[in-house]
């Protein structure tokens, strides 16, 4: 094969390789707003899929039929740290009745190690989702930490609490109200 032809083939092989790399890359997580979903009270919660701290993934839309509390937090945020035991306590009391809690760590503003260390310190047993690229934080238009979204069994956001720390009584009353609706 002549040199120019060899160079041309190699160039094509390189280009095709680059295209393949882009097209076939793994999408570890996704976040998208479907029509009618807005991160506001009364609207369908925007769907997301995120990797979990302990492995695996969580997809919000697959939790329909459950009451879901999505709590945005970081390990460096004092009110987030302060309210976590209250959330954990409510989770333990109501998980068998249909409560799911997703501790949504804004990992792009935190670190996986710091999040893991804090979760271990508190003894958190609910899943911790890692928002590595801010996609879910952006989708939910989070403007302060902590922020909690209470989502009913139909996937509708019923209450948003911006700031904290939430008391255990507050979390419990919100959760109970939504759980009762399914009875």
């Amino acid at each position: 094969m002549s040199t120019p032809r060899f160079v041309m083939w190699m160039t094509w092989a390189l280009v095709l390789g680059m295209i393949w790399t882009v097209v076939s890359r793994v999408q570890p997580e996704s976040a998208q707003a479907s029509p009618g979903s807005v991160a506001k009270e009364g609207f369908t919660a925007p769907d997301f899929k995120l990797g979990l701290l302990d492995g695996g993934t969580v997809t919000l839309s697959e939790l329909k039929g459950k009451v879901v509390l999505v709590n945005f937090w970081t390990s460096w945020c004092p009110p987030c740290r302060k309210e976590m035991p209250a959330i954990e306590s409510v989770y333990r009391s109501y998980k068998d009745l249909g409560l799911v809690v997703i501790g949504l760590n804004l990992t792009a503003q935190d670190s996986k190690q710091a999040a893991a260390s804090f979760v271990q310190e508190i003894g958190v047993t609910f899943p911790i989702a890692l928002d590595l690229d801010n996609s879910v934080g952006n989708l939910y238009r989070v403007t302060a930490l902590p922020t909690s979204f209470f989502i009913d069994r139909k996937g509708v956001i019923r209450s948003v609490i911006v700031g904290g720390p939430m008391s255990e009584a507050l979390v419990q009353s919100k959760v109970e109200e939504l759980l009762r609706e399914g009875e």
Partner: protein, 102 residues
């Protein structure tokens, strides 16, 4: 012109917010001193309508206004071109200052 930075000691990002605000003021040729307002309790937060640390106000106007039902000690985050951050960029602050100062 009165420039206030409301902050809550627990959220470390207010320091970067202050630095960026001072840079923005300098680049805009504004020599106004930044008045630091420490928010220490939920009562303070409610009284001051504190939106989370760091919270920027010029002549009593929030640079990033938001209506809330409840005001409490929290850490503010800002949608920057580089994603959500605990403080706005210098450019974001300059644009807001432009809008307020004219």
């Amino acid at each position: 012109m009165k420039i206030e930075l409301l902050y809550f000691d627990g959220c470390p990002s207010w320091e970067s917010g202050l630095k960026n605000l001072q840079t923005a003021l300098q680049e805009e040729g504004l020599s106004t001193a930044v008045e630091m307002v420490k928010v220490e309790s939920d009562e303070d937060a409610a009284r001051l309508k504190f939106l989370g640390s760091p919270h920027f106000r010029v002549d009593g106007m929030d640079l990033w206004h938001e209506e809330r039902d409840v005001y409490s000690l929290s850490c503010r985050v800002y949608p920057t071109p580089n994603g959500i951050k605990g403080y706005p960029t210098v450019q974001m602050l300059k644009e807001k200052l432009h809008a307020v100062v004219g």
